[in-house]
Chain length 350, copies 2
């Protein structure tokens, strides 16, 4: 019996394909991995040909990551159950609303001791008034441990091999070491931390802060105000973890998943951008702006804020999170964007 | 005997005048302050009239903060010894190279139990191979306690009353409460923390990080890389405090003096901007760019980096601070800007 780890990737969008590009190299670099990596590809026809066939002959995902080659190790598979066969490590990188339906066929089909790694940002929406993490959902559906990877990682720039960093949250130190080997490159620097939940919560809540940052931009509030808003948002992220997932390691917020991802999201990023437009064009809803500017793709910030507000209201904790509450009420059109600062002046630490 | 505190302000540049605008309102708002606040003004002639006379008749610093009125409480005084007479609280807000000469005439002239508050960013350069804080210099020259105020505070935006935050570092809780009263407004939010040295070190080191951030911009490295560089810089700021001024409160780095000021400096700010040009126009020195773009005003980032490098070399600690070392060597033209990332790959925590 080989003790090499077999890896598979569930998802093949822009970010999934970017990760496949890295993983396809690293499995050949280290003896501890099987060379073949199955990648689940939702089958579609591109220029008259199946996308899986294109990937398996041209070694390129021409639809979602054009211009970048995979190594021959990456094998596109159109069936998700076939994809995970004999896999020791399952990398999940699909939109969060597809997690349940993608996982269900896999129940009972996984190798014993398989582990998951979720690259999926956002909270699970299926439990109103309770925040359920995607990694917890994967864990409980499939009865596997599930680590997470989050960071300041715009897919295009990672694919182009710009220097950047990412954070893996993994309770099991041994798995963490293996996952770091699988994903690190000289320009994609991986740090492993034990508090996976903090890492994952940062990945969801930063989008709420980005909405507030975008509103500052839309109302031309200037650099001081924006920096204050981002800082107050970061403090609320920490307070949220302390309140609902005690006790996070404070150092984790200084990792790429914390301050760095928050920075890129609040100074670039679509949540910021659409929120800027929302503040400028006062008569439009987020849904309308999404349709106009994102081709129907959904923003995570407003929806996450509303989920968070539901949770806070159910526990009477709104006063601790004025920024999150303001963003949710702005998204629901209950208050004006100009009321954001009134809420922030109620910051409990000021 | 009145137990009202008499306040004076030493300095009347753009930032000093902005603070005078706030202090002039707050001394009238609270009973615990004397209404009159002396402000030391280095005398100069503006349109044929003495600047102190203009300020004392028009209640406006027409040279350094045009368009903003002081309350009548602010009295411009051309002599620094006269300025501090009977003062309980001395606010220092002058360029750091003038601290020694401004303080020397005050030796032995201060009221017993007077306290200082330094708004001066940067390290004292007078001790090569040793970092001396400005507040320590004021303390030791004048034998007074000296608190500090630092934050994401672009003067123009504070003067225009945009919402923002600042941090006062003050070991003495009672002084801290008085200083917060003196300086806080609904749009200038003050948090007081006990570790004054951490607050002050953040105010100096952020400029070094901004040089690295500007180089990223100049070399078009993208958002991921810039976020990684700012994050690594923040970690080095923390490591610097841990190494040379143990033990900082980690929470202080989440205050306005920490992440927020770092943000405004790395995404706006002149250290970032000139460093971007430095990376683009490879044949110029920082001194040349300062002359061309800042009217001879000095950048703090490159000079601070070189001071820090001297300290690190004297203690053999360069390996712990690859970003600071790289910025210093780039400023000294010992290495190319493109070598920055080589240095960062040596980050001891990666």
């Amino acid at each position: 019996m080989s003790d090499k780890k077999k890896v598979c990737i569930i998802g093949s969008g822009n970010w999934g394909s970017t990760i496949a590009k890295i993983v396809g190299v690293n499995v050949n670099k280290y003896d501890c991995f099987e060379n073949t990596v199955n990648m689940y590809v939702y089958e579609e026809i591109v220029d008259g040909q199946k996308l899986t066939e294109i990937i398996n002959t041209q070694h390129e995902n021409v639809k979602y990551l054009k211009g970048h080659r995979f190594t021959d190790s990456i094998v596109a598979v159109p069936d998700v159950v076939d994809t995970v066969k004999d896999a020791d490590i399952l990398i999940f990188v699909i939109p969060h609303q597809f997690v349940a339906n993608t996982c269900k066929p896999l129940i009972g089909k996984l190798k014993e001791n398989a582990i998951g790694l979720s690259l999926i940002k956002g909270f699970d929406e299926s439990v109103p008034g309770k925040i359920n993490l995607i990694s917890e959902k994967i864990s409980s559906l499939l009865s596997i441990d599930c680590a997470v990877l989050m960071g300041a990682n715009i897919a295009k720039e990672v694919a182009e091999d710009h220097f950047c960093e990412t954070t893996i949250g993994c309770r099991n130190e041994e798995f963490g070491t293996v996952l770091k080997k699988l994903l690190e490159t000289p320009n994609f620097r991986v740090t492993v931390v034990p508090d996976a939940k903090t890492v994952e919560i940062c990945g969801a809540l930063k989008n709420v802060v980005a909405v507030a940052a975008g509103i500052c931009d839309g109302l031309s509030y200037g650099e001081n105000t924006k920096a204050a808003v981002v800082r107050i948002g970061l403090k609320e992220m920490i307070r949220f973890c302390n309140t609902f997932y005690p006790t996070p390691r404070i150092e984790t917020f200084f990792e790429s998943c914390g301050v760095a991802d928050l920075l890129t999201t609040c100074y670039g990023g679509r949540n910021r951008k659409i929120s800027e437009l929302f503040a400028k064009e006062k008569n439009k809803t987020f849904e309308e702006l999404e349709k106009e500017h994102l081709g129907g793709q959904k923003l995570q910030g407003p929806a996450t804020a509303i989920d968070v507000l539901t949770l806070l209201e159910s526990q009477g904790k709104e006063a601790l999170f004025p920024l999150f509450v303001a963003v949710a009420r702005i998204a629901k059109k209950e208050i004006e964007v100009t009321q954001l600062l009134e809420y922030l002046r109620q910051d409990p630490e000021c």
